[in-house]
Symmetry: C2
Amino acid sequence: MAEKVTIATVAAHAQVSRQTVSNVLNSPHIVREETRRRVEEAIAALGYRANQAARQMRTGRSHLLAVRIEPTRDGINGSVLDRFLHGLTFAAAAAGYRVMLYTADGDGDEIKTFDDLLASYDLDGFVLTGTDHGDVRTFWLAERDVPFVTFGRPWDAPERHSWVDVDNADGTAQATRRLIETGHRRIAFIGWPAGSGVGDDRRDGWQRTMKAYDLDPAGLDRGASDSIPNGAECARDLLTMPDAPTAFVCASDSLALGALQAAGGRKAVTGFDDTPVAQAVGLTSVSQPLPEAAARCIDLLIHHLDGSPTGTHQVLLQPSLVVRTTA
Amino acid sequence: MAEKVTIATVAAHAQVSRQTVSNVLNSPHIVREETRRRVEEAIAALGYRANQAARQMRTGRSHLLAVRIEPTRDGINGSVLDRFLHGLTFAAAAAGYRVMLYTADGDGDEIKTFDDLLASYDLDGFVLTGTDHGDVRTFWLAERDVPFVTFGRPWDAPERHSWVDVDNADGTAQATRRLIETGHRRIAFIGWPAGSGVGDDRRDGWQRTMKAYDLDPAGLDRGASDSIPNGAECARDLLTMPDAPTAFVCASDSLALGALQAAGGRKAVTGFDDTPVAQAVGLTSVSQPLPEAAARCIDLLIHHLDGSPTGTHQVLLQPSLVVRTTA
DNA sequence: CTTTCGACTTTGAACGTTCAAGACCGTGGA
DNA sequence: TCCACGGTCTTGAACGTTCAAAGTCGAAAG
């Protein structure tokens, strides 16, 4: 059908050389006004679009970013990634970049994939989600000067690399404050076992808020791995206390759902992540600004790519409490 | 750090020409056994990986596939796409392809994106999800001989292009059969308004099964757009009937959740899609084999790319009923 | 002994772009 | 008048790969 339109086609049509067309695209200021207009008209008339592969060969820049897509971890929280991905793709497109997906089985496999993607496709950068303590992946990438941004901060050394994160403590603080303001005094926290950065942060938010209101959090704290049954068990355990809690702040919607089941709907419960499940059952939950987080990730990444490679940058976003029927 | 390893590096190391290395990679059979081994050793020793951009320039094949990522439609069903995407990425990687994401606002915008992706990145093919009746996108792609596969069949002309789909009717049939076998006789269907291929198909499965067991489906059928409140309203409406239903087969987990709320847990309910919400609340639901569907999409697409371009192929997969506490 | 053939390998060119360097041209200072 | 200069544009080369065509060599055929 349409013959392939290359820079040469445009050049011929506008009566200039290849390089001038290239200049119009990449350094418009060095081209004379009138020439530039003529070339731009030719580009529009012919529907020319630069071939990325050829450009990449010369410049070494692919305009491709990679993100890992994980096999829906626990079913409930999976859709967080979904929304984040959409935001990334959208923001990347606006900046002239495209998002490529990859899968991996564990960190070791992921590093092998990094290597492969970099060698084969010359990827410009990575967005990592779900970073661990002392994440090997970040060291591998940093060592090779591969630009990357993580969604989730490195808890051991906040300034080691650029990241975007949501203020988890503020999320549970908001939830706790809301419960206190609606009259609750005995407010329990159901979270994950101590040791995970995110989990500890969410616990902190609850604890600090309790203390700020002169409420004693002692004994009202439980930890278990993320699942509905575990949430239910923790809640049941808390309810057998002498001075049993009247409300539960939970570190995830899964745990919250368990608490909700155990409490039979008679207690106030808040979750975290505002997953579709929360929307479905009317669970009050802390919502992360995912589209904005994604956009900031792209911002930071592109800043690394285009701008000065000086230093790292951090962005901390505030979550918001979505109040529904359970609190 | 590591100097760039090109085909020339490998050639020098193995004492052969560039072309021989290329042949080892692309047509090993025309290279002498011993030479091939030597080249392969050099490749391994140097960690060589073909540069896709350069390869693409010569061959016109990018080894890139594109999928649209949508802004989580209704919140509940969103995660279906998530799981499908993971399957696609995984299957594509196994076949030497990578998956690129794009977003679009409506079909018109999507076509503009097609154009852009094809011109800029030389995409090899597309996977489309959620096709409508007489989908403009499929015509546009077919007209330009761009390989594509849809997940979801074209209801007006099943053989117009290649597709992979799940047998929706079989899903609701399984659900209905299960309810009948557990003693229910008055089984209602809550679906979408007539006119959508998928929705009609799901209704058919229920209706046919009812008739197969000599049960009269008349009057037991409701339609509303997908949401929890709508599901609840349909269920309430059905429950006011003289000979009220004891069970509800629903076309989605959202509707099922509504029915569940309206029926107060006293009636049997089945949903569709086995979303995280269903898992969370114990809803019996029809599960689509998403990883397999994704793999088959990739199969078909690659068959179009590598093999003979003769004709189209169709794959219909069977869903399975995940029995939980609600039925 | 020469020719032909086949198996294998190499060479030059090309894909579409941008970099580096050079060419052109009119202006202004010496 | 001549030259240097800055602004503008053009030319050749290169990125890493594969295609097309040509080269090499030993063995079989004439």
